[in-house]
């Protein structure tokens, strides 16, 4: 179900609401007024008919020859036509009267002795025909009233009301637009700001301007919330950083004293020596962990800015591979460069890049008996550095998770003792992202895992 837009809903409500209400009002007004007008008109006309009929009767009684004159003067006075019939024969009528206006049904009914009234349409004109029988003079009097004026009035009324309704609707719609803007825009601003903040622009705040009180409140609460959240985030980051920082000195002492003990190893009993071995091993893990934690919390808190340099990717990779291998005392994997790669340049922080390569190679060493090869390739204007191993690979369902902090995959459980700090690959991903690149894991040609780092190429110089 598509989520409806608030803006649209407000607009429709206002516009439609205004339209419906105004139309309703106009219609009701019109109907009411029309009924009133028609009733009034009919009343008046009927009264006139009766009066005229009485006049006809008395004229017939006193001076029948005056009948035509009477009818014509009635017409002159009131613009209604009177026709007099006796025994189915037209006795007299005003000059502009047309017998066609008096329908057979009327004649018949009036002839039967009933007074009648009818509004009918005669050739496009609306007329009101009243028929009055006057049995005492054996005549039927018919009066035909033109309703053209009434029609016109009603048409005018309808037009005015219609325009009024239209105008009201437009005003309503405009009001709707205005209200919508005032209401919805702050909401949009909030959601936009929230998105920015979620993306990491933690300094984003809503602008406080002359707005409605509720919106003002929203703005202030929002800003306050963000500030507090940011403070909390910074505090947390600082905490991790502070803790790790505090660990430096004790760790230094521990490491150094462990070394001293190693120097005096022969003075220890076998139990002592075994204990010392364990101490040294775990101390090394501890040290790595603290180092990783420090690095991670530094990058979290944004404390260590990147020192970006444009360097030759190939030279850097070579250097990093060599460093990493010698640091761990492991065999250096071969660096294979695909054809046509040239000498691409990348924009990275040297030390962090070295860290990245080191961690990935270390990971290969730990879980896959070392990296088989480091292959450099170019894919769609991005540099691809692939660290391939011949191990058992990373299961598909773990390929997203391996980069999470302290993730222990199945391989870790299998291996047992040779654990890493759990932060190695997480750091790798953080650093790679900071360079504007991506890292993914897939399958290597050797059947093991391939860690692929993609970096944007700054410039490429052909060999």
């Amino acid at each position: 179900m598509r989520r409806r837009s608030l803006r649209l809903r407000l607009l429709v409500t206002f516009g439609l609401g205004a339209f419906v209400i105004s139309t309703l009002f106009a219609s009701l007004t019109y109907v009411g007024v029309r009924r009133l007008l028609i009733a009034n008109q009919q009343q008046t006309d009927l009264q006139q008919s009766y009066v005229n009929a009485a006049l006809v009767r008395s004229t017939l009684y006193s001076s029948p020859t005056e009948l035509s004159n009477l009818l014509n003067s009635i017409y002159k006075a009131t613009a209604s036509n009177v026709l007099v019939q006796t025994h189915n024969q037209w006795l007299a009528r005003s000059n502009s009267a047309s017998t066609l206006d008096v329908k057979q049904a009327t004649i018949k009914t009036v002839g039967a002795g009933h007074a009648t009234e009818q509004t009918l349409n005669a050739d496009g004109h609306v007329i009101f025909v009243v028929g009055v029988p006057i049995p005492s003079v054996e005549t039927q009097v018919f009066e035909v009233f033109q309703l053209a004026n009434l029609e016109q009035t009603l048409r005018l009324l309808a037009l005015v009301l219609g325009l009024g309704a239209l105008f009201t609707s437009i005003v309503g719609m405009s009001g709707g637009i205005w209200v919508t803007r005032r209401t919805v825009r702050p909401l949009e601003e909030v959601s936009f700001a929230a998105a920015l903040i979620a993306d990491g622009a933690l300094t984003t705040r809503l602008q406080v301007n002359r707005a409605d009180r509720e919106v003002q409140q929203l703005t202030e609460s929002f800003n306050q919330m963000v500030s507090q959240l940011v403070q909390r985030l910074e505090r947390d980051a600082r905490f991790a950083s502070d803790v790790s920082h505090e660990l430096r000195s004790p760790l230094t002492t521990l490491a150094t004293t462990a070394t001293v003990l190693q120097q005096h190893r022969d003075d220890l009993t076998s139990a002592g020596q075994e204990s010392l071995d364990l101490l040294v091993a775990d101390l090394s893990i501890f040290q790595s962990l603290v180092e990783d934690l420090l690095e991670m919390s530094r990058s979290d808190a944004g404390a260590a800015p990147l020192v970006l340099e444009t360097v030759s990717a190939i030279e850097l990779v070579h250097q990093s591979v060599r460093s990493a291998s010698r640091r761990h005392g492991i065999e250096e994997p071969p660096v294979e460069i695909a054809d046509g790669v040239g000498d691409p340049l990348v924009l990275v922080d040297r030390r962090r890049f070295e860290r990245v390569i080191t961690n990935v190679i270390d990971n290969a060493h730990r879980y896959a008996a070392g990296a088989a090869a480091v292959r450099i390739d170019v894919q769609e204007s991005q540099l691809a550095v692939n660290v391939d191993d011949a191990g058992s690979g990373v299961p598909v369902d773990e390929r997203e998770h391996v980069f999470e902090r302290f993730f222990r995959g199945r391989a870790a459980h299998d291996r047992g003792i040779a654990r890493g700090t759990g932060l190695g690959l997480a750091l790798v991903r953080d650093h790679v992202r900071a360079f504007g690149g991506t890292i993914t894991v897939s399958e290597s040609p050797e059947g093991g895992a391939r860690f692929q780092i993609l970096l944007p190429i700054v410039q490429s110089e052909q060999p």
């Binding site: 004790p250 230094t252 002492t253 004293t257 030759s312 060599r322």
Partner: protein, 224 residues
Amino acid sequence: MSRILIVEDDDHIRTALRLMFEGEGFVVDDAPSGEIGIAMFNRMASDMAIVDIMLPGMSGFETCLALRNASDLPIVIVSARDDTADVVLGLESGADDYVTKPFVPEVLLARVRAHLRRRPEKSTGAFQLGALHVIPDEGVVRHSDGAELHLTSTEFRLLTDLASNNGKPLSREDLLERVWGYDYFGDSRLVDVHIRRLRMKIEPDPANPIFLVTVRGTGYKLVI
């Protein structure tokens, strides 16, 4: 029997370091502050110094400067922070190397040894750098007007190594190995800062070097 001066205010670390170096056969003079450290050095003439940056009173940088002014001895600074600014400041104060806490003690040992081992130098003939006359055998750089330019042994080694490569560029890696004696413990920043210091000393316009030239993507070379 090499003599090492350790200037560190943290008692535990200082003690542990002393024990470790003594276990390796060094003679250790340890000082809890910069002032005492300098006094000790003046009395004992140590062969190398390890200085912590965070010191009470006289700072590690100042201590470093003072030691450097007095002697050519290799100085390694120990920092609790890995900030490039600190590192550079330390190196600018005259240090030859730096390590960050927590360090791997074996690594520190190896570096110390490497610095002390650097005594025998590669022999190269004397050469001219503009108005400067470089005499590797004597370890001296003389200005044409007779004034002597003072370089630390590290700086001197850097210069002569580049010179011996006949104008071909050397990578930072190579330089680390040749000048400092190791590659995998090092950091290219060491090389960069030393090159910059060298440029300040020998280039007529350090901002636009004509002798110590950067070769992008490779490293540095010396144009004679």
